[in-house]
């Protein structure tokens, strides 16, 4: 499908299937529910809705359930579903749109907070540095998870890895940063997400 940045912007509330499809440059009604996406998905068993069920909900305009599902945060973006779809529905692309919308509308499933937090922390990190500062990312991500879920354990997870990484000269206490961080900030500023935030009540 011809791509343009002049994308539709997802409105507030519950988007319908046509709009979601347009955002993902795919045609959701093409899906005939064969389940090949689910069959090939490496993480389908972990999802609360199988990929084909997710698409089915969207076909029925029930994006609300989709936006709150764990599925979109379990997805590892491996593209297997899209690559094998007999009807060329870009399921992985739909996941991207749903994640974007779910985040904007604060509908991300609670148990999936870690994934959401990580992705957000990642983007914040490169917005500040231009390039990824791994230690900073890990630190802030863990803090977020603890703050929001109270799972203290996360702090100590992988703690043993640090000395090991250090031993292998893989730990950079002073991260590399892009020189022209101004342009990075401006790029971020120009790229508003295509899904608008709901109005604050």
């Amino acid at each position: 499908m011809e791509q343009s940045l002049e994308d539709n912007v997802l409105p507030q509330g519950t988007p319908d299937s046509f709009l979601l499809g347009a955002l993902a440059h795919t045609h959701l009604q093409d899906c005939y529910q064969c389940g090949k996406c689910t069959a090939g998905c490496p993480v389908a068993v972990r999802m609360d809705l199988a990929p084909n069920q997710l698409i089915r909900l969207l076909q029925l305009d029930d994006s609300e359930t989709a936006l709150r599902s764990s599925t979109i945060w379990e997805c590892v973006s491996c593209q297997t579903c899209s690559a094998r779809c007999p009807k060329s529905v870009d399921c992985a692309g739909v996941m991207d749109v749903l994640r974007e919308a779910s985040l904007a509308q604060h509908k991300a499933a609670k148990p999936q907070h870690a994934v959401v937090a990580f992705q957000k922390a990642f983007l914040d990190n490169i917005r500040r540095n231009g390039r990824l500062a791994e230690l900073e990312l890990i630190g802030l991500y863990k803090a977020d998870v603890v703050w929001n879920t109270g799972r203290i354990g996360v702090l100590f997870k992988d703690a043993g890895l640090a000395p090991q990484l250090n031993k292998r000269k893989k730990l950079h206490l002073l991260p590399e940063k892009a020189k022209d961080r101004g342009v990075v900030e401006r790029i971020f500023a120009r790229c508003s997400a295509r899904c608008s935030e709901p109005e604050k009540k």
Partner: protein, 666 residues
């Protein structure tokens, strides 16, 4: 000046109620060229027709207009009446003042005015009518049947039994087609060979069927009623007339390990072979790609062994010519190649299913051979890789079919049924085995069909999962099938011993080239096009060429047979007389003014226009021109529209007539 009679009908009250027929007759009488104008209660009745006939004779009319109902209703009636009175029937026109006037208007004055206009229009046309004679096309009362599968066999036998000669051309060494290789058939589970082979023998022995096996249609010339066919008889290296089919040659042949075409590579055959024991003709053929004698002048054992002296290593392809009046195309289907490599850019293979990579992933025709009592395993169901009896078999439907990404969005129609059949045949052979079926929808419309599928599930315990399979891999000798059960909403993983893929049906190889030779249409997938999907399902756009069986679309045996009989009956109609009579309302080209741009040739839906030359009486070239083949033209007039100089014209709807009609409305 013409002498035209106009006969206005009251149609009882039907016309007369809203059209003032007396006024009409009076006004029409004043039209130029009209010498008599009458009205009558029922023109189509015997007295009405008698009146028309009488006036034609007494007034020496050279054209008549009957102002009554639709020409689709009674034009034929009045043409016949005119003919009996000695007037050329193509000098009769109708003015439709009932369906298109009196029945749709209530206001008498305006309906009357309209009726007068309609008649004026018809009078303008009839004044420009010219006498036409129906076209007689001589007919060669023989038929060609291309393809010797079940459809071709049915068509050939029907036509031959009706008393006409049939030429049958089959590409393979034996007739029988795909059906000859099937084990048992749905929904009755009767043995395929048991019901087919008697029909094959009938073809082989029929006094009016001339069989060219191991032959192909090389060229087609001519048109309806008069086709000239060139047939290439491929070198068989066996003189069929001498051979007795005793079998000494193939039992002595040392090169026995060649994949059998008939068994789809599941079994082996010698270099000289008959495809299967019941082959018709039961005469062997030498595979020149493997025969040691033909490759390097070695061996030659079969020649020595043959008592009849039928082996002929010097044999060559021969081209013979046959004349026929009609053609039935029954070239059948083949299965889509599931492996990665594809013959067309529009198709893609299933790399994810590992067909061609894993020996125990087979297609459904291969399965038919493995499960067949006459198959390479002698009826014991063994898998190809190691000969073990598979205890878990996965059947996958819609492999290629309904898969846009692979290039075949259509449903192959028969897979649901034969897959159900496969699970039953398997269960009947391997009682402790489990059949698993991945399907998207079960399409079992047909007499006893759904009951059959239910039986597979309910009685024979086939386990059906509604979902596609994403990938097949192999681990520890097991095929790992990763599919989905969309009803349960979960992925499914099955460790299988054998996987059977219900591969999509595609038209047989080379059908597009054949269609081009025959000037018939085919769709983007190569299936041949019928002339009308509902009303002319076995006709093609080329007169005299008919289609039957799976070359037109995926279909099962009963459908293929029914269509073959339908095509045969169409052929019988055409061959019923020595001459074909065709309506003369067809196109003609003024060769003097034709600029030979051939736009008409490109446009004609019937390929009825040819390139031709105008020459003097002594044969000196004057110019190029387009020319209409009266045997093919159907009279649509599209050529006239695209002709810039209007050198093309349509008899019965000529430019002159149409303009006269339009101008009468000034």
């Amino acid at each position: 000046m013409s002498k035209i009679g106009v006969f206005t009908c009251w149609c009882g009250e039907n016309i007369a109620r809203t059209v003032d027929v007396d006024e009409v007759a009076k006004r029409v009488a004043g039209f130029p060229g009209v010498v008599c104008s009458l009205n009558y209660k029922y023109m189509c009745s015997d007295p009405g027709q008698a009146m028309v006939r009488e006036k034609i004779a007494s007034e020496k009319l050279d054209g008549i207009v009957v102002a009554s109902c639709s020409p689709h209703m009674h034009l034929k009636t009045f043409r016949k009446a005119a003919q009996t009175a000695g007037l050329n029937p193509y000098l009769v026109e109708m003015a439709n003042i009932r369906e298109q006037c009196s029945w749709v208007h209530h206001d008498k004055p305006s309906a009357t005015a309209k009726a007068i206009d309609i008649i004026r229009l018809s009078v303008a046309k009839v004044r420009n009518d010219v006498p036409l004679r129906p076209i007689q096309v001589p007919v060669t009362r023989r038929a060609l049947v291309i393809g010797g599968g079940v459809a071709g066999i049915q068509a050939a036998l029907d036509i031959a039994d009706a008393g006409h000669e049939v030429v049958m051309v089959e590409r393979e060494p034996s007739i029988g087609g795909k059906m000859a290789g099937l084990s048992e058939t749905f929904p009755t589970l009767d043995c395929s060979q048991c019901i087919l082979t008697p029909r094959m023998v009938e073809v082989g022995q029929h006094p009016r069927i001339k069989l060219y096996s191991y032959s192909e249609v090389e060229a087609v010339d001519g048109f309806v009623g008069n086709f000239k066919i060139k047939i290439r008889q491929k070198a068989r290296y066996v003189d069929v007339s001498k051979c007795t089919g005793c079998g000494d040659c193939w039992s002595v042949c040392p090169l026995k390990k060649n994949p059998s075409e008939f068994d789809y590579g599941m079994g082996m055959r010698p270099a000289i072979y008959i495809p299967f024991p019941q082959a018709v003709p039961a005469r062997p053929v030498i595979d020149k790609k493997v025969c040691a004698k033909l490759i390097r002048n070695g061996c030659g054992l079969c020649e020595k062994k043959c008592k009849a002296g039928a082996i002929d290593f010097k044999d060559e392809d021969r081209v013979v010519e046959e004349s026929v009046g009609c053609i039935v195309v029954a070239t059948g289907y083949k299965l889509y190649n599931i492996a990665k490599e594809q013959p067309k850019a529009s198709l893609a293979g299933y790399g994810e299913y590992g067909y061609g990579k894993y020996k125990d992933v087979i297609d459904s025709l291969q399965f038919e051979r493995l499960i067949s009592a006459s198959g390479p395993t002698g009826g014991v169901f063994k898998r190809p890789s190691d000969g073990a009896i598979p205890k878990n078999v996965v059947f996958i439907s819609c492999v290629g079919s309904r898969d846009n990404a692979k290039g075949m969005p259509y449903c192959s129609k028969i897979c649901c049924m034969y897959t159900a059949k496969h699970t039953m045949l398997y269960k009947h052979k391997v009682h402790d085995g489990q059949a698993h079926v991945f399907y998207m929808d079960i399409r079992a419309g047909g007499k006893g069909y759904d009951e059959f599928v239910r039986r597979a599930i309910e009685q024979d315990g086939a386990r059906y999962y509604r979902g596609r399979v994403s990938k097949i891999t192999q681990e520890n000798g097991k095929l790992i099938v990763r599919g989905a059960d969309t009803l349960a909403g979960t992925p499914v993983e099955i460790e299988a011993d054998l996987v059977v893929l219900a591969s999509a049906m595609r038209p047989a190889d080379g059908v597009e080239e054949l269609a081009q030779k025959l000037n018939i249409g085919y769709d983007e997938f190569g299936f041949l096009m019928e002339s009308h999907p509902k009303l002319r399902p076995v006709e093609t756009n080329t007169g005299g060429v008919f289609i039957a069986g799976a070359c037109q679309a995926p279909k099962d045996i009963p459908e293929a047979v029914a269509q073959a009989s339908a095509a045969a009956s169409k052929v019988q109609v055409m061959l019923a007389a020595d001459e074909l009579t065709r309506e003369p309302e067809i196109a003609a080209i003024n060769e003097q003014t034709c600029a030979a741009c051939y736009t008409c040739l490109h446009t004609c839906p019937y390929h009825a226009i040819e390139r031709a030359e105008v020459r003097t009486g002594r044969g000196v070239f004057i110019k190029n021109t387009a020319r209409v083949n009266a045997g093919l033209c159907m009279g649509c007039g599209t050529c006239v529209s695209v002709c810039p100089s209007k050198s093309a014209d349509l008899q019965g709807f000529s430019e002159q007539q149409i303009y006269a009609m339009v101008e009468s409305l000034v």
